[in-house]
């Protein structure tokens, strides 16, 4: 098996100059004894991936600083008690641990502006935080950066029924927005498993993808306007609600996907599609990845305009969900599963279309079995199987997720390769699932006890392979702290240099979310 990998790489060598032959040594390397993550000295970070980072030359927090913050926010919106601050210092996966001593909870853009102006003057580093649901360690401090939480900026400002444009503050929770819109007959253009906790400001700052991207496009298209605050406190108001506005540079794009390093997003204007009257979901069992690809091509052809999601998961993922969360498997045991969703305006038309597609796939042998549902309760139950998978992996003890974009043909290849490389380690599960329709694979690795060495085994293999295929090392999760060392795998040196230039222009003192995205 390993020789097959070596042969494949040798062939691809001619297409890519920068292959390190040490790649193969990494693949064959044995593990050292595991070390537990220990709390380290103030100038070192215990966050996985951050151990070699030194704290930047920022000021230390003083009581004068605290008094200033208390003067612009009320006392209860300035958290300094360690037990209050603690949850803001750890990310959802518990792989990133910060050492912040203070959390600020502004309610308005003016408060954010005042805070940032002061922090910039005083050279205090800050870490903007929304729902803290990110999986690349970008939402928590690395050292003692001041956490600026948008949780209290949760007002929905306006909704225009005619255009479907909603304007809201950055701290609005995705699910809250979805519920508000559904009362008006509209829905959010994005949906993800973390919807009960993630905030729209964070979604915009990470250019979140999710399960509806296939149909409604990315946030880059759906965000019509943004209001953000620069490092020096200056408010940049590009909160347009117009679908078309070609007046100069599209500044809002500076803040979409820049993970809080170029500005803090305070308001968002989003264009929202009308809610679909007819939603159907199909959960399918397939015998090989080849059939998965065939089915997804057919789905796109035959379901075309009504297809709204095309997801896949392997058997190991379903196994985690059924064993850890006790959810019901709708069909039998198959090597691969797919979840298709259609959203349209005519119930009978859509059901007939989906039915016909599924029956013909069954007859032709592309799918082995499947269920179809149009009742909201069953649709919810089937989506849970896919959306709660991260929760299921977390229940194993610890869980890392990798998120890559590669050409569809090679979508699943890395999973068996990685499983083989991880055999004999403390890893319990190595599985693949993802937004098949977007070419975006989530590689899940979970086990009982975290081994800090595992990323060193997984990452060189994974990212080299991704780079060979000219893929992205982070399809939708962003860079955060976990992938800073690998940015060059997917972006050219000149691109990275331009990013540095823009960062220098917008945040010369580097106080906004330092240590994230860039590695140095």
């Amino acid at each position: 098996m390993l020789s097959k990998i070596i042969r494949k790489i040798a062939i691809r060598r001619t297409y890519h100059e920068n292959i390190r032959t040490s790649f193969l040594y990494f693949a064959a390397r044995k593990l050292h004894n595991s070390q537990t993550l220990q709390q380290t000295a103030q100038n070192e970070s215990s966050t996985i991936h951050a151990s070699s980072i030194q704290r930047g030359n920022y000021s230390q927090l003083t009581s004068d600083h605290i008094h200033f913050f208390e003067s612009i926010l009320d006392k209860q919106r300035v958290l300094t008690d360690p037990s209050d601050v603690e949850p803001y210092n750890v990310d959802w996966l518990k792989l990133a641990q910060g050492q912040s001593k203070i959390v600020l909870k502004p309610k308005t853009t003016e408060e954010v502006s005042a805070i940032l102006k002061y922090c910039n003057d005083e050279t205090l580093a800050v870490c903007p935080q929304g729902g803290n649901t990110g999986v690349v360690g970008g939402s928590v401090p690395v050292f003692d950066e001041i956490v600026i939480s948008t949780s209290l900026m949760n007002q929905i400002l306006s909704f225009d029924e005619l255009s479907g444009v909603v304007m809201c503050q950055a701290g609005c929770i995705l699910e809250t927005l979805e519920n508000y819109l559904s009362d008006h007959g509209f829905q959010m253009p994005l949906d993800l498993g973390a919807k009960g906790s993630c905030q729209i400001g964070g979604n915009v700052s990470t250019n979140a993808g999710g399960i509806r991207l296939l149909r409604y496009g990315s946030l880059q298209g759906n965000v019509l306007g943004v209001e953000a605050v620069k490092a020096n406190g200056e408010v940049i108001d590009c909160l347009s609600s117009l679908k078309k506005d070609n007046t100069g540079y599209h500044l809002k794009h500076l803040f979409i996907g820049s993970e809080g390093t170029l500005g803090i997003v305070t308001k968002v204007a989003l264009q929202c599609p009308p809610i679909s009257k007819a939603i159907n979901v199909a959960f399918l069992g397939l015998k090989s990845f080849e059939e998965v690809l065939k089915t997804s091509i057919n789905a796109r052809k035959k379901l075309g305009e009504i297809l709204s999601s095309c997801e896949m998961m392997d058997h190991a993922t379903l196994d985690a969900v059924t064993s850890n969360l006790k959810l019901q498997n709708p069909i039998g045991e198959y090597p691969f599963y797919m979840l298709l969703e259609t959203s349209g305006s005519n119930r009978e038309h859509d059901q007939d279309k989906l039915n016909f597609f599924l029956q013909s796939s069954l007859v032709s042998g592309e799918i082995e079995d499947g269920v179809m549902a149009s009742e909201p309760s069953k649709i919810k139950a089937i989506w849970e199987i896919r959306e709660r998978a991260p929760e299921a992996f977390k229940a194993d003890g610890w869980y890392i997720v990798y998120d890559i974009s590669v050409p569809l043909k090679h979508f699943y290849e890395i999973v068996p390769i990685m499983s083989k490389c991880l055999a004999g380690t403390s890893v319990k599960r190595c599985t693949g699932m993802g937004h098949l329709g977007d070419g975006n694979l989530h590689l899940n690795v979970s086990g009982k006890e975290i081994d800090p060495n595992l990323p060193n085994i997984i990452e060189p293999i994974l990212y080299e392979w991704t780079s060979l295929l000219k893929g992205s090392i982070s399809a939708e999760h962003g860079i955060g702290i976990h992938k800073t060392k690998y940015l060059h795998y997917s972006k050219s040196n000149s691109s990275i240099q331009l990013m540095h230039n823009i960062k220098q222009l917008l945040d010369p003192k580097g106080i906004l979310n330092p240590y994230k995205i860039f590695h140095n």
Partner: protein, 253 residues
Amino acid sequence: MARVLVGVKRVIDYAVKIRVKPDKTGVVTDGVKHSMNPFDEIAVEEAVRMKEKKIASEIIAVSCGPQQAQETLRTALAMGVDRGIHVEVSGKDYETLQPIHVSKILAKLAQDEKADLVIVGKQAIDDDSNQTAQMTAAVLDWPQGTFASKIEKGDGNLTIVREIDGGLETVKVKLPAVVSADLRLNEPRYATLPNIMKAKKKPIKKVTPKDLGVDTAARIEVVSVEDPPVRQAGSVLADVDELIGKLKEGGHV
């Protein structure tokens, strides 16, 4: 081997947000997604498992309601039921259809079809009546085992474990009998595509309550249907003294 009659009801899907009609005569059902009553799904599943274990020979599903009730019957057929009977009740009659009527219908069908066991969900999630199984047993003068969480077949009898407030009660009933299914009896299967295809060929017979000699004239009158009162917002208090102050203010102490 036993012939089993399963009652299934078409109700508003439990994941749908219920809206009261502005004229307060009922809830909005037009264009709202319906599905099989979850407890009835459990009843169907139990009947199908009995057939798979060869304890039952034939399963017949019955649903009372308008034309759309046939969709519910098709779901039951796709889960493994052999044939369906649609008792057509629509319009005003359907709005006032009560367990008292349904139980007489099920009783007549149980006699006509020579059923050995009638199994229904313990209650419907729209009216929460929890009466149909009990009334059907009374009309037939058959023994009943309600809130069943486990059913075992013996020789001409059933041993049923019932979930009651005090814990679990085990009863033994002679067949023929009426059973109502509770939540923990089983986990209903999904209707898979090949089975949905097969179900299209299974027969659904249509009858009316009149054919069965049952009068569906209204026995109740719906006076009004209203939303529950809106929940008042709570408030965070600073300390115990303030709490006592507020309680005194509100006349609670």
